[in-house]
């Protein structure tokens, strides 16, 4: 059976993690218990780009006031997010908006498979939370200089946007402000390792997210 980014792996956490005492299953349990205690209006779910956002002041400034919860986990691929959402992280909560940012770590999958994986997550969310809307964030470019992963991430974004009519309750937001300069390089002032955002990088990316969330929450009131 070929590996597909949209499949739920039987033991995704065990298959990927090698080190004993690894934090990821525990972090998942913490998210599940958070979902029992808290009543978020906005849920952010995804990989390290979501997880690290939570560590910067900008989270408290822009997203805490929207009653947002952060279920980001570094290293996660679409399969891992799918598994987490199927196994408790969507239970007991009723967010109005789910912000989904995942796909850049799917190194074993083609752009088509990654886009399908994102689609599978959207469909799962819709089945568990039919009134929630999903805001899919575009994958960012990466690497200091032009490379195949930039091409792949851009293709994923294109495929996801094309699939939107078939993805219930979903919309797409491209949050790349133009990180790639005219010489083709990405600056370490925006991405300190040409993948993860600096504080300045997050400041640029979070403005459009915040603006969109406010608009979506405003619409929801009607």
């Amino acid at each position: 059976m070929p590996h597909v980014a949209a499949d739920v792996l039987v033991s995704p956490l065990g298959a990927r993690r090698v080190a004993v005492g690894d934090p990821s299953p525990v972090r998942h349990h913490r998210f599940v218990s958070d979902s029992k205690d808290k009543e978020p209006e906005v849920l952010f779910v995804g990989d390290s780009l979501v997880q690290l956002l939570h560590q910067f002041e900008i989270w408290r400034e822009l997203f805490s006031p929207l009653h947002a919860l952060n279920f980001g986990m570094g290293g996660d691929c679409t399969q891992h997010v799918l598994w987490r959402l199927q196994n408790g992280e969507l239970d007991h909560i009723n967010p109005k908006i789910i912000v989904l940012w995942v796909g850049t770590n799917n190194h074993g999958d083609t752009a088509e498979q990654v886009a399908e994986g994102i689609g599978a997550i959207v469909k799962l969310i819709h089945s568990k939370q039919p009134t929630a809307r999903v805001l899919i964030l575009g994958l960012l470019p990466r690497g200091k200089s032009p490379n195949a992963l930039r091409v792949k991430n851009a293709r994923v974004n294109q495929l996801v946007q094309e699939a939107l009519p078939s993805l219930p309750g979903a919309s797409f937001l491209d949050v790349d402000p133009g990180f790639v300069h005219s010489d083709g390089t990405i600056s370490h002032h925006d991405m300190y390792d040409y993948l993860h955002l600096t504080r300045a990088g997050y400041a640029t990316v979070c403005q459009p997210i915040h603006t969109r969330l406010l608009a979506m929450l405003e619409q929801h009131k009607i």
Binding site: A19, G21, P23, Q55, G74, G143, N147, D193
Partner: protein
């Protein structure tokens, strides 16, 4: 006698680009360039513990003013740091202090091998930067609950503490003692994923480190700086 050949943790090796965007080498290249432009008094080198420190405000507040540079790359083991230091990251600079923080990612290596790797790094710094004092930071505990990696890291620290003073002007500083709570757990307020520090976690370790750096920087007389050819 050289144990380098038989200790994989002390064999310098670069990270291969398997993902396809060559980020490790891009970061290393940038660090080598920084050595040409800048004159740090303090150099931090290591893994994501060093890398992430540079992203938080505490760096601007406490370490930037000391003219510090940060050469951390997430995921690095002792072998990777050794390679980077041998391939340009110690050239064109004469720091007064070098802070070394690496070892928690050496999953394939034993306690003895990791200690040997850190010792090899210290030895290299002593050779290339004889004027520099070296501060080796202890490995932090990790994981939400007691687990084998905590024991391993603690054992590395125990051996380092005992063996480092014999290697010249080297100090061992353990900044991890406050993280494990009385019930044996580590809080996400300190380590958001039970491995990487939050800003609050860094604030706690930055104070003792900053104090030590101030002390070491005061001790170094200007006269002892080598004259550059």
């Amino acid at each position: 006698m050289s144990v380098g050949d038989s200790n994989p943790a002390a064999v310098p090796s670069p990270v291969q680009d398997v993902q396809g965007d060559d980020r490790w080498m891009s970061q290393h290249t940038r660090f080598v360039l920084e050595c040409k432009d800048k004159e740090p008094d303090v150099l931090f080198v290591g893994d994501s513990m060093v890398q992430l420190l540079h992203q938080y405000e505490v760096w601007q507040e406490l370490f930037s003013p000391l003219h510090a540079l940060s050469f951390g790359i997430g995921g690095d083991t002792t072998s990777h740091v050794l390679w980077r230091l041998q391939n340009g990251e110690l050239e064109n600079i004469t720091p007064k202090v070098v802070v070394v923080w690496v070892g928690t990612n050496n999953h394939e290596h034993t306690v003895e091998q990791i200690v040997g790797g850190i010792q090899a790094i210290v030895h290299l710094i002593n050779t290339c930067q004889p004027q520099a004092k070296v501060v080796v930071l202890g490995l932090l505990p990790r994981g939400e609950r007691p687990n084998p990696l905590r024991e391993k890291n603690a054992e590395v620290n125990r051996v380092l503490r005992a063996s480092l003073p014999r290697l010249g002007s080297v100090q061992f500083l353990d900044v991890g003692s406050g993280f494990v709570q009385s019930d044996g757990t580590i809080s996400t307020h300190d380590m958001f994923d039970f491995l990487h520090l939050t800003p609050a976690g860094y604030a706690a370790i930055a104070k003792p480190l900053h104090d030590l750096l101030l002390q070491l920087l005061e001790e170094t007389p200007e006269e002892s700086r080598p004259i550059l050819a």
